[in-house]
Symmetry: C2
Subunit: 338 residues, 2 copies
Amino acid sequence: MALKISEIARLAEVSPATVSRVLNGFPNVRKQTRDKVMEVIRRNNYRPSAIAHSLKAKQTDTICLMLPNIQNMAYAPITKGVEDVARERGYTVILCNTNSDEETEKQYFDKMKSRMVDGFVITSAMPNHQNIFELVAEETPVVLCSRYYPEDVGKIEICSINNRDASYALISEMIAHGYRRIAIALGNEEIFYTTERMRGYMDALRDAGLEFDERLVMHFEKENRDFYRKTLELIDSGLDFDSIFCTSDTKAIYAMRALYERGLKVPQDIGVFGFDNIDISDSVTPPLTTVSQSPYLEGRLAGQCLIEQIEYKRKNGVLPPPRFHEIKPELIIRQSSK
Amino acid sequence: MALKISEIARLAEVSPATVSRVLNGFPNVRKQTRDKVMEVIRRNNYRPSAIAHSLKAKQTDTICLMLPNIQNMAYAPITKGVEDVARERGYTVILCNTNSDEETEKQYFDKMKSRMVDGFVITSAMPNHQNIFELVAEETPVVLCSRYYPEDVGKIEICSINNRDASYALISEMIAHGYRRIAIALGNEEIFYTTERMRGYMDALRDAGLEFDERLVMHFEKENRDFYRKTLELIDSGLDFDSIFCTSDTKAIYAMRALYERGLKVPQDIGVFGFDNIDISDSVTPPLTTVSQSPYLEGRLAGQCLIEQIEYKRKNGVLPPPRFHEIKPELIIRQSSK
DNA sequence: ATGAAAGCGCTAACAG
DNA sequence: CTGTTAGCGCTTTCAT
């Protein structure tokens, strides 16, 4: 159905090589020839086969975006950012949801390798990601976006905020607002940013001379939704607390649901602080005090860095030294705190 | 770097053809030969090139998912559904955000054609989608998911609820709950489902003997966020209304924000009804009365139907007759209505 | 049951 | 400036 370069060549009465030259904008083609070829291309609505090109060029102009689950609202803006940059630069994005499942992730890595994607933006790095180190060892361009681990620094390119500092800043600010007994709803503690956010919280308490109370810690079980129940339990326990720091806005929404359910008003009775500034954080009731890592821009940056790696490697045959891009977080004080 | 079939052949002391036969599970290979080849493959961690395969096979095992914007929460579960099915069936998903922009969409269609994707799931169909009809005319597998237009029926495969009926059911139910003056927050009226939801609303009013008041209609401008302001304006206009029907949950969240801002309680003072049942609809304050089209399952269905089309075409050379898959919506009554 | 050879559509030497 | 040729890695007749 779709015609090929040799047919265009025949119709334009030139060789396939010349058509290829025209297609790729080589300068060494007579204007007259070029025009004729272009005309034939246009008239026949010819579209070169990206597959054949990829086979020859050993590059696919395709990048893979791996994330735990696109249904988690925190990943939507990252995804959009990566895709926007990719489109602008002529790349295509393959989306992979790992469901935080090692088997699925492994399958995807295999498939992506055989599809020869040019690089990976990974937001789903698990604590032991031997697979990712292997990728880099094979000189595959990789950028870790928002999720990384201490051992990655200097070995893999990273785009992230400093979670400890962001958390520290938020909690210090809330302490300045008068909060004293701050409960915390933690994410999966295998993930570095969770423990970093926890560390920021503890450091802020300590530096303010406040006591850390283990009983005010709500640990992650299986899903964010569980924090609805966990918050109810915390309330019903009768423990004294004046606020809840949730390590993601999604958790904060569930926590607020529970507070509301028990007739506790936010922020009058209990303050709630989130993390992420997801799209609706400014429009839930009450709007959330949170910290933003500008995930859309983070995604764009990750995409950009990946493409730079890809192009560097194309030119030099090896990856550039991995950089750490620290993104400046932004404190956003809204009505869920007083 | 990556080794190829001919090297495996050499190592296994057979021909490339035999390796290919083993790889593709052909029966006409001696067990002894097969075992030897498998062993060499395993030992060398050989991965066939999907690109070379695609070039030869003229199929890429890749599908394209087009949507307006992944940041719109309504699309996340559809995306997850499509991707889950694709993965299960051995396909890969390319994600395309059109931003509801014709130029971007056109670019993507071109790129996807030259990448020879095997088919499209499209949730971003614009009112005049000549391009999509052309796709089908070229025997490209296509499924419209959740967004379609009357002229598509019988020409393109569709997975969707009946929006008019779903809306009618919701509004009738709310009228039965005692609501009489129901304002409406409309989406983009160029999109069929918006006008269908509007029609359901009007029919329900009419059948209940209620008067339709044009002044209670809030029209879409540029983004959902605008409904925060529009709702404030509606309140401040002093018009009498006892509830707002929002044609998406996202709009409902913005509307509730405005009501709260003006000291109006939901549902005590004003009822709010949404549409979509996005992930957090059950956890915002108050939880939203809405109607669900089970978007995750809708995405799965769309993916499944697309793959069936692809495989049918592979066998028969042409597309199967396009079907209409009507999804049964579910009314969900929560605390945003009384 | 296995191998030799041609070809998918494009590009890159090399030659002229 | 343009054409010829070989080859990217895999599959698929056609022989044997």
